[in-house]
Point group: C2
Amino acid sequence: MDEKNFKTIQEIGFSKLIEKFESKTGKKRTDILTGIGDDASVARIENGKVVCTTSEIYLEGVHFDLTYTPFHHLGYKIVTAAVSDIYAMNAEPQQVLINLAIPNRYSVQMMEELYKGIDAAAKDYNVQITGGDSTASHQILAISVVCVGTAAEEDIVYRNGAKKDDVVCVTGDLGAALAGLRVLLREKKAWEETEGTSFQPDLEKYEYVVQRQLVPVARYDLINSFSELKIQPTSMIDITQGVVNELQFLGKRSNVGIEIFSPAIPISFETRNIADEMQEDVDKYAFYGGEDFEMLFTLAEENVEKLKTEFDDFTVIGKIESKEKQLSINTGEDRTIKIDLF
Amino acid sequence: MDEKNFKTIQEIGFSKLIEKFESKTGKKRTDILTGIGDDASVARIENGKVVCTTSEIYLEGVHFDLTYTPFHHLGYKIVTAAVSDIYAMNAEPQQVLINLAIPNRYSVQMMEELYKGIDAAAKDYNVQITGGDSTASHQILAISVVCVGTAAEEDIVYRNGAKKDDVVCVTGDLGAALAGLRVLLREKKAWEETEGTSFQPDLEKYEYVVQRQLVPVARYDLINSFSELKIQPTSMIDITQGVVNELQFLGKRSNVGIEIFSPAIPISFETRNIADEMQEDVDKYAFYGGEDFEMLFTLAEENVEKLKTEFDDFTVIGKIESKEKQLSINTGEDRTIKIDLF
């Protein structure tokens, strides 16, 4: 191939690459209500009933590291990540399909451990595993996961519904999964440096954040509360790439600005301690840390008190503004950081 | 890990491994009509409407070889394989989701070629691409593909409906995709042996079989004819792992025996020529060759003539028998090969 025709993906970045694919989506069907660009696709089946579908691919060494991830936890986590995308549409996950490509070095027992984690998560989230092909792989373990969920068409919550004066909320606390990852990577390094000795990592005092990294839980409790209280958030997205990233998506898709009051962002005591130990800024963990699987959602203000009657593990962190504001992060020290939306 | 606890997957085989997973499928839901074990899962959505879902994972060097597969063709083929599974349920494909994990050595242009093939196939099969994440990969290109289709619950055709005295049919001709692969592998070897010279493979005389390997077409024409004529096959499966393999699945799932008259199996002139060139038995190509994406189906006998009025690219190759017959292949020379069902 001609050298001037060889543009690396790094030069343009993955999000620009995905944009290039957006014009190559085959037949434009009227029964597809949303395609690429939300947590899951939405397809009309009949009479106001829709299905939401999401899929992911995970490669060993890129998306997970088996030196510190037990197979059981890996299985649990990939199911959590899949159902979380369906919950983020305010839909009910129904089935999960999983394909494995397995290299020789892994045993039957290891794959059974992986499947035990998948099974445990599927039970917790009330979904059935309906597809599960396994093939050989040369070098790395590769996994693909699909989740299909259902909802009434009118209940679906997209990323694009946030309106001026809505409040911006997040569940749980942020940055803990990244704090857990930092601990695991430090222990891995220590283990590598002492290989041959009887080094045993002491993870007990880091249990909360390690748990958040290895066995995250999708927030079905929030979705159930919405359903019981008949509250519909105006927009929603699950936090997998850091809250700043998700806010940029949400603002762009909803065509609004967002003001965040950063001291309000919930951060656990344990996450703060680890940032201190690592001599890092804990705000970076909370703003940019991925894989928390908490929910970011916007609500009409009058629904905040109503939601609290059933579900109180959420925090108001800001407000939807007009578009010119972009994403404004008020640090509470007379300083506002302005970030462009995607 | 304990050595006696390290059983390699090769020792038990992938189909036994998948069986082990069949007890680990999470919550058993009543709205899942079929899970693992057919071409696609079937989930009830509402009022007799179901969705069928299938997914696959493909790794470079394991499932495809980019030295002889143009990106455009690869894109077309992965969509064909996905929709073919949905057609095999007698359902209509609606949407396809694709995830790519891309190593550095591939350019933006190459990935655009891949997507052009995906787009072309999606248009041909009338489906929309509704998910398309792209991430980095260290070594190999990895692709996951999902297809979701819809049908009336009563129209779904499973693998388990074949009944004694039904006729067994296949569309098109068999073994051509394997013949094409043999040619491509021979040319690849020749190319490697002459590297540095101006070797150019001459594939023109092999066009039919190379096309069958690189750009297979899923048999929506058969499914459309069933729909127009209101014929429902009693069982159906697409031929991706060789017809003998698929017959074993079909017999096992339907709990019947099958008698095949092997001289009736349709084999193209071009496939026969290549087997001769390679000094191989053409029956092996037709029996065990994968990736033809033809359909294997069973019909009540009275429907054969009816189907022919609209669609004649199929051949009756045998008959459903009682279970004791297992899979009996009558070679037409007073010799019958008996093969156990799975």
